[in-house]
Symmetry: C2
Subunit: 499 residues, 2 copies
């Protein structure tokens, strides 16, 4: 009976999800409250939970149940469950236990080496570990299989359906348009943003972030915000989606926009249909789609002119010393200042993607064997000079700045840009359906936008792919055009420049 | 090879301990930070972790390994590991999966019914659930087996080695001595404690608690304190032992002594030999021995005259409005005021044990069938009148006040008193070995006492039983005499009464 088999499958998957959620709770605790001495014990606990989850998920009984259900399921969500589980199952079972173990050990070593190398600005210390990560990633890609390029096998983990060729083509086109825009902005008068670098009371920053999350529709009965060194969002269930943030006492944007960004991720997870809870469908459908939600709330809402019409009086009142003499328009321009810089996570909306492209090119070359790990700094610095006109003085501010490769995450970076492109496509579609979003934002009304995202994106979880969601909402595939138009219009106005 | 078998056993037990520790993290989170909407998801996660831990632990391979190791292990800890694991294994496997499931369901229902009954002061709503708990506890006791009384089988879960007959005899003797003491104190002039009921800034209370924990030797690199509605301590590893506390803004003792009490539990767990981590030996050897540690730090240290010689200046300085005009001696007398009261958790050092005895008698009678659940309020009120001269006006302040029976914990209460008796026996032994503890406390030196407890109690975890620890340190078994002598001396002096 398909019904019995489906129930059996769901029960097995629920157990796996419980183990994964438990591991996520332990990781959240590790980043927020865990005392430092507990690191080793926590590593054991996490390894046990993840190993058990992996074993339970890759058990042959799961494969047999999937085989027995193929083509026999009618309900849309159930069909998606079988499809997505099949996909995950095949990926998970293609990797031998030996390779998984070697990868885990290599990552643990690489992470420690990266921390030290970054601290001492000593890339040579990290290079052999990066080489090992690349070699194992190649082995992993070969085991997973791919049609055209190794990169595809790895990218598929983060952005299902996307391929290297598509990303490469999109990035080439985008770069061709973007470099002249960045140059034109660099030649224009930059807005003054000195007042952003003033003391901002941390407690008031914190409360302000909570107020905006609440206004956006984040449900604190099913979530909470804590402090952590690196902001993140995490979900243990549709009913328990948490964010963390980091407050900089002397720079306003760090905490505020970090909160909005993680809040955007969390709104996605809180909006998933509760019927999907405790199944593999209960998360964002791709990292790109996830990033589209964080960028949408952070930038398209949170750095927009109408948002600050609503928000500025409260912010100015909260920080009279820093902002008492600063006009709303000046503040809006300051938080949108475009300036080539060395560090990706501090980059503005426009130059950000040049950082991503550079990483995509380097990891592509590492994977296809045309670049050796030892030559990464030279390649990095050359691309920085070419794209942004800057050369890092140290590798710590250059190719050692990001943790991703040390974590074995090759193929991850492009999703940041893909998500940004999607965010504008979705936002345009929402505007088309909802009419005057600007007026709503000026009144602090975000419910209609959230409702639209719930209906068209969030509720499906992984039951619809990113391309299905884009097709349904915009009538077409991923497209850089809307984002470029947005950038030209917004920054052309701020800089009074023709872009 | 015994060595291979031992390694195999340890690996299996480490996995079980990791699962149990993970469940404990999730429970800690549930009591401290979890958003309210997450309750159902969390229940699923905990059920999954506990079921897996139970299945892994009761797997027949564990039994086979234990059989294969019997008598073949030499190292003291390893021998204890086999002995204690055998004990736990036999208890765990004697209960059928069906009984465990029925108990879990009955407890969940009883807990909800108890909450409602307590809130509405409606014992009749709880009575059928209590009856079900008693019936299932009887079934459980019969399945576990016992030599003389059913109660022994349940008590054994909390206080291995102890029997109903021993507890009953000890409690009879103790009560015979205690009731006249309480009467004598009731007739004497009570110390004024009105100043304890004044506003005490919660932030300062919090910091003061942390300061004292630090002075006691609690290691914040391997622990932390958070807020929760009901204070508790919990351990996820020897290197991650946490406490929670609850601050009453208008009553000083609640937060301060609660912190010291939980800190005492935590010092025990932090002191366990790290070699025992990730084994079933890595926890307190019995609930009584655990309570001996919390009571020792809370009462024998924290409510002692020399402690306040050291602590009072800082406390007085922290709360000048409340304590500016209060002399040290007056404060010491106030926090040691003895007064018959209705609520166990608010009772003083002396009358506390009458609350415990009453519960022991009632649960004994429930288990042997001589008392029906419906008659608990009458039995309760009669005993309260007899022992403390008080009759609760409501069952909420009477037989519905404690959560234990709703949680299925019958046989637990006596450990509070057993632990208190042990605390004085151990403290006397420490004084014998360490000399002038009073002088040390007056100077805020608690290291020698902690070192002694580490060496004689903490480090063994469950590798030594409570009676072995008492025998080694005091040369004899559990004994109420030292506690009675302590009470007579301390409260005789405070009340200027001959007790």
């Amino acid at each position: 009976m398909p019904t019995d088999r489906l129930t059996d499958l769901k029960n097995r998957l629920a157990l796996v999800q419980d183990l994964r959620a438990s591991a996520a709770v332990l990781e959240w605790d590790q980043e927020t409250y865990m005392p430092p001495g507990a690191a080793e014990a926590r590593a054991h606990q996490l390894a046990t939970l993840k190993t058990l989850a992996h074993r339970r998920f890759t058990d042959e009984s799961v494969g047999a149940l999937l085989d027995g259900l193929d083509g026999l399921v009618e309900d849309e969500f159930d069909r998606a469950l079988v499809r997505v589980t099949r996909r995950d199952f095949e990926r998970a079972t293609k990797l031998s236990a030996d390779l998984v173990a070697r990868l885990a050990r290599a990552k643990a070593r690489a992470l420690e080496a990266w921390k030290r190398a970054r601290q001492n600005d000593d890339f040579a210390h990290f290079a052999p570990h990066l080489r090992e990560i690349v070699d194992l990633s190649i082995e992993q890609a070969e085991a997973l299989g791919y049609e055209r390029r190794r990169y595809d096998a790895l990218l598929d983990e983060y952005e299902p359906e996307a391929t290297w060729a598509e990303v490469d083509a999109a990035f080439r086109d985008l770069r061709a348009e973007l470099v002249p825009i960045v140059q034109a902005l660099a030649e224009a008068d930059p807005p003054d943003d000195a007042f952003l670098h003033r003391p901002y009371d941390p407690e008031r920053q914190w409360n302000l972030g909570l107020d905006v999350l609440r206004a956006f529709g984040y449900d604190f009965a099913r979530g909470r915000q804590d402090r952590s060194a690196h902001p993140f969002s995490t979900a243990f269930s549709v009913d328990d989606v948490r964010v963390t943030t980091r407050i900089a006492p002397d720079f306003f944007p760090t905490g505020f926009f970090g909160t909005l960004h993680e809040g955007g991720h969390a709104l996605y997870e809180q909006g998933i249909d509760p019927a999907l809870d405790r199944t593999p469908l209960a998360s964002g459908t791709s990292l790109g789609m996830h990033e589209s939600q964080s960028r949408l709330w952070e930038n398209l809402v949170g750095r927009s002119r109408p948002f600050w019409r609503w928000a500025y009086p409260a912010v100015q009142e909260a920080f009279p010393d820093a902002l008492g003499g600063v006009a709303e328009e000046a503040f809006y321009r300051a938080i949108n200042r475009v300036q080539p810089s060395l560090i990706r996570v501090e980059a503005d909306e426009v130059t950000y993607h040049l950082h991503v492209m550079l990483r995509f090119e380097i990891e592509s070359a590492l994977l296809d064997g045309s670049l050796d790990a030892a030559d990464v700094p030279a390649a990095w610095n050359a691309a920085m000079e070419e794209y942004l006109g800057l050369t890092p003085e140290t590798d710590a501010d250059g190719c050692l700045q990001d943790i991703h490769w040390a974590l074995g995450a090759i193929g991850y970076f492009p999703t940041y840009t893909l998500g940004t492109l999607m965010s504008v496509q979705l936002f345009d579609a929402a505007k088309r359906d909802l009419g005057d979003l600007n007026g709503q934002f000026e009144r602090g009304e975000f419910g209609p936008l959230l409702g639209w995202l719930r209906a068209h994106v969030h509720r499906f979880g992984r039951a619809r792919s990113a391309s299905e969601i884009l097709e349904e909402t915009t009538g077409g595939p991923l497209d850089a055009g809307p984002w470029l138009a947005y950038v030209r219009e917004k920054f052309g106005a701020i800089y009074e420049a023709s872009l």
